[in-house]
Symmetry: C2
Amino acid sequence: MNQEIQTRIDRLRSGDARALARAISTVENRAAGWSELLKALFPHTGKARVIGLTGAPGAGKSTLVDQLAKHYRKENQTVGIIAVDPTSPYTGGAILGDRIRMQDHYSDPGIYIRSMATRGSLGGLARATADAATVLDASGRDLVMIETVGVGQDEVDIVRLADVTVVILVPGMGDDVQTIKAGIMEIADIFVINKSDREGAERVEREIRAMQSLAARNDHWTPPIVKTVASEGVGTTELAEAIANYEAYLKEENLVFKKNVENWQERLVEMLRDAMLEKARAQMGGSIERYAAEIAEHKRDPYSLVEEIVRALATTT
Amino acid sequence: MNQEIQTRIDRLRSGDARALARAISTVENRAAGWSELLKALFPHTGKARVIGLTGAPGAGKSTLVDQLAKHYRKENQTVGIIAVDPTSPYTGGAILGDRIRMQDHYSDPGIYIRSMATRGSLGGLARATADAATVLDASGRDLVMIETVGVGQDEVDIVRLADVTVVILVPGMGDDVQTIKAGIMEIADIFVINKSDREGAERVEREIRAMQSLAARNDHWTPPIVKTVASEGVGTTELAEAIANYEAYLKEENLVFKKNVENWQERLVEMLRDAMLEKARAQMGGSIERYAAEIAEHKRDPYSLVEEIVRALATTT
């Protein structure tokens, strides 16, 4: 490892917030040295508890995460928050929301908030989030919370790298549980019904229970349902307990390592896909527009072309 | 091309619904011969108009698509519908909804409906949808409609292969336009406000207009806003006109080929990514669990490993 990277890592691990921000930017933007940095950080990872939280827009996720952060700060734990907000660039919701939150925690260096926004890249956001979590973990944060808005495949990809996944529902949002998409219900280790003082909270609970009765999990854990009113701080302690209970369960049942291996299998495939795509793009280089034009003119079929490129890639160094 | 594939294609192009269903299954499941089939079908493609429609759950998309299908049938055009429904496997919504719709059109061979559901694969649904659209196009359908539920990156990936993209909004769904995610507002060639007899339709329209004033499109098209009440057939003709207007605009401005080339560039990258991933997975083969375990034990860093695999792949045939 070169001296410059060692210096960066020393500063990062001493708690320097600017070094932390810079390191996350480096890996997020794939700036010069990003790969060497991650390799050098890796030995320092694996200590942070990583909690993923997701739910539909308007479910009160940010407020809940803030409450949790305050809870953990009272226990003297340091917290890193990655807020993945794929709000439209038109509305700028991510930036505004983030500024307000930053002010709130401004005086506490024990909480570090970083927001990430969709850039329309192919699967790039999940990878960028994972890398940012790695940096926060290596920096010595006790807890890393990854919050993401939405209930689609994007969110599944993002939160499944967490050790514990919390899915947040609210009463009275249209068809409730029915509109939650494939994958999200399945990845919940804990359900939260936020704004649970509203009408319909019992119905949401019944629907979750009904779905749970249809399919047992491989690890035999039954995700608990925690009711919260995040705006008033109600239920935060119960949620923190539920998270701790699940972590304890994983330890008791010797599932920590198994889960870790499963996570890494998925991440490896994703990392490999990204790396291969990069290589393939480089291979096609400036030809891609010409290829696309030839396909659009029906002079070439895309299926044979892709086979040719993959073959060619395998025979060059 | 071998005789068996030629026979399949002849049957498919003669309008045989069973041959059509079988061909879609072959490419969707990557069953034996899928690649040869697509190569052989490609010369027959490029004639169908491909229309993508997306919107939040509950926006009345299926009803609108049905109305459009009836409209085009009156003009004696044949229609293929691909309903991409990433509903949770728990709820089984896709299957039920599809059966009801199938019955409705049962007597008309001019309408073919195919539903696709999320299978949790990495980007596999967009690819499967594109391949199914290719089969429908090659089979001689005049129109292919791709409808998808939701407003996330999944849906962007799925509908952007269409020639015309319709985004469906409804009044009174929470924060309306604010909750529409990155990418969706940008890809709309036409906006529909469905259930426009409800309170709040004007507000949605104002919000769309406000967003449009912030960002001009590269092709200088201003997406029109069509108000519909799909359950009563109101606005269907106007929507069909708006679609035809946009198609005419693309022709007048000589943008058809350009758009086609851009679409193929994106699809090529996606196809290449899938092909490379398959190759990479095969390369790792049974080692992936061992690798993941070594990473989980911190005996190996994942970043170096991926580099090694990509390097190794480039030197083997």
